[in-house]
């Protein structure tokens, strides 16, 4: 097994990677700003500096690029954290944060908002609330079940998710094909293109609030992978831990979807990546997932906004990258066992 010194080095490496990706992404964009000017503009926020840049430079930096890069990092880390946590509590490495229906619920909330043209902010709120509602319904259903709770959660999640999915399809059917339908479709593909500063303040706190308890409970996640009963004999109330984790993961997922649409595969694939680097122990794997997820989404988003002038929805790119990698993992795991 990897010894702890190696792991420490790798974790530091991941932290450095995130820093590089973060600042690197900040330097990139279709609007050219040279690095020196960029640094000057940043510093001007805290120190008085003579202004030799344009209003547009500042606008791009603070209104367009900074919110986007921050959101990308936060969402990437959050989704990876939620995915890793779910894989632990469901004792199944093939699980993603969408499994309990939060994403589908949020997608429905957003589609509903777009359909009724309720305005930018309200759409995000609608998506967030419906995302949470979906999981509340799932939890309510599973409460009536005594045995095999995790299986019931997953089944209920698939069912509730499907219903909301059908709702979205229906809305797409009756939506105006000129603007509403494309708006819904684009939204579903997942994109950070429209990130505004207010989005960062809307979605950032819930995601961070969602990540925190999961990080704090990471040792207990280890114990939970032994199964509910064994965990209980070691003093862990599996139901409580699971509920807290689900609560945190749902906050993350609903908030992420409410501002950026459906970005898939991050929550499923990144934890595996993290495991390959630092092992299964959640004490390191969870923070590693967060760091890796943030870096990953930042890099992919750079492609999304730099490849062409028209934005490529990031959900498409994560699927193009994530799905083949997932296939590779399945083959590799199958060969190993």
């Amino acid at each position: 097994m990897k010894d702890s010194k190696h792991i420490k080095i790798r974790m530091s490496g991941l932290a450095v990677l995130l820093a590089v990706c973060f600042f690197g992404s900040f330097l990139m964009g279709k609007y050219a700003i040279d690095p020196v000017t960029l640094v000057k503009i940043l510093l001007s926020r805290v120190v008085e500096l003579p202004v030799d840049w344009t209003v547009q430079d500042e606008t791009v930096l603070f209104n367009v690029r900074l919110p986007r890069v921050i959101m990308g990092a936060v969402i990437g880390g959050g989704l990876a954290c939620a995915g890793a946590a779910y894989q632990g509590i469901f004792q199944n490495p093939m699980v993603s944060p969408d499994i309990l229906g939060a994403s589908n619920g949020a997608a429905f909330g957003a589609a509903l908002g777009l359909f009724f043209s309720i305005g930018y902010q309200a759409i995000s709120v609608s998506a967030f609330l419906f995302g949470i509602m979906a999981v509340v319904i799932v939890l309510a259903i599973s409460r009536r079940v005594k045995f095999n709770v995790t299986l019931e959660l997953i089944l209920a999640g698939i069912m509730v998710g499907s219903i909301f999915n059908a709702g979205v399809s229906y809305l797409k059917l009756v939506a105006d094909p000129t603007d509403t339908l494309p708006a819904i479709t684009y939204w579903l593909m997942g994109s950070l293109a429209s990130t505004r500063t207010q989005d960062v303040f809307f979605a950032g706190p819930p995601i961070i609030i969602g990540i925190l308890p999961i990080l704090l409970l990471r040792w207990r996640l280890n114990v939970l992978t032994m199964g509910d009963e064994e965990a209980r004999t070691m003093g862990i109330n599996a139901k409580v831990v699971r509920t807290i984790v689900i609560g945190g993961a749902t906050l993350i997922t609903a908030a992420a979807v409410s501002v950026s649409g459906l970005i898939g595969w991050v929550g499923l694939v990144i934890p595996h990546f993290a495991r390959m680097i630092v092992g299964d122990d959640y004490r390191v794997m969870l923070p590693a997932s967060v760091l890796l997820g943030s870096s990953f989404l930042l890099v992919v988003d750079n492609f999304a906004r730099m490849l062409a002038t028209r934005e490529i929805p990031i959900g498409i790119l994560t699927a193009f990258i994530g799905a083949p990698f997932f296939l590779y993992l399945i083959l590799k795991e199958g060969g190993r066992q």
């Binding site: 097994m1 010894d3 207990r220 280890n222 114990v223 032994m226 009963e229 209980r232 004999t233 070691m234």
Partner: protein, 265 residues
């Protein structure tokens, strides 16, 4: 340290599994529980461990009512060694044993230096220190069972419940595990273990408890209470008991009638 069970009743839906179990066990003893499949051994254990709700009766651990204890508190008094099973994730042997220390930790605390020392000491107790950094899934079945025992030891409870620990082990590993368990009993632990092997009972047990149809058919020292009739009542086949005088040891083999087809050849 005493475990006392008084008039324990439990039913699965309308199926009455435990029909008034009462017994007492004290520390420094290896108590083996015999019974046929479905007799209620696992159910009894799970009630005592707090994994089943809805039982009627009384379970007292050192005089304290178990139903009033939180999972953490209960985990400080009784630990559990399951039958070995595989998980989706792989941990090092040390990390597996560390899990046993969870009950001592605060709500969000991670295991620290003290817990690590505890875990290593537990590894020493069952002589598997050399396996410390190995992958749990990469060691043999017998070694895995020893790791699970070490995990229970790290939990530092005086009472340990083992559910058929030898089921998946080869003959040699079975003996090794039973020996380790017996050593622990000698050191003062109360170990309650279910088993399907009367041999082990004769070889190792301090006391044996027989469960028949949800009640305790008999309890006491193995060589005193385990008779051919009792064994036939438990398992539904005829057995013969023989004794090796030099070793003062009883063992049982199936009666000729049960295996007659072999001898007819």
């Amino acid at each position: 340290m005493t475990l006392q069970v008084n008039d324990l009743y439990f039913s699965y839906k309308s199926n009455e599994v435990l029909n008034g179990i009462s017994f007492q066990a004290t520390e420094g003893s290896l108590l083996c529980v015999l019974g046929r499949n479905g007799a209620g051994k696992s159910t009894l254990f799970r009630c005592v461990l707090g994994l089943l709700k809805g039982w009627r009766g009384q379970i007292l651990i050192d005089g304290v009512d178990a139903s009033e204890l939180s999972p953490v508190q209960l985990a400080g008094k009784i630990s559990y060694i399951p039958q070995n099973h595989s998980t989706a994730f792989s941990y090092s042997v040390l990390d597996m044993v560390l899990m046993g220390t969870t009950a001592r930790l605060n709500r969000f605390e991670n295991p620290g230096k003290q817990e690590r020392k505890l875990a290593e000491a537990s590894l020493d107790l069952v002589n598997i220190r050399h396996l410390r950094d190995r992958n749990f899934q990469g060691i043999s079945g017998g070694e895995q069972q020893l790791v699970l025992i070490a995990r229970a030891l790290a939990q530092q409870t005086r009472v340990i419940i083992m559910d058929e620990p030898c089921s998946n082990l080869d003959y040699g590993n079975q003996i090794k595990v039973m020996k380790a368990v017996k050593d622990l009993a000698k050191q003062g632990y109360l170990i309650i273990q279910s088993t399907h092997n009367p041999e082990h009972v004769f070889l190792f047990a301090d006391e044996v408890m027989v469960i028949l149809d949800g009640i305790i058919g008999a309890m006491g020292r193995a060589d005193e209470i385990l008779s051919e009739e009792l064994l036939r009542e438990i398992y539904g086949i005829h057995v013969n008991l023989h004794e090796i005088k030099e070793r003062r040891l009883k063992f049982c083999i199936p009666d000729q009638r049960e295996v007659s087809y072999v001898e007819a050849l």
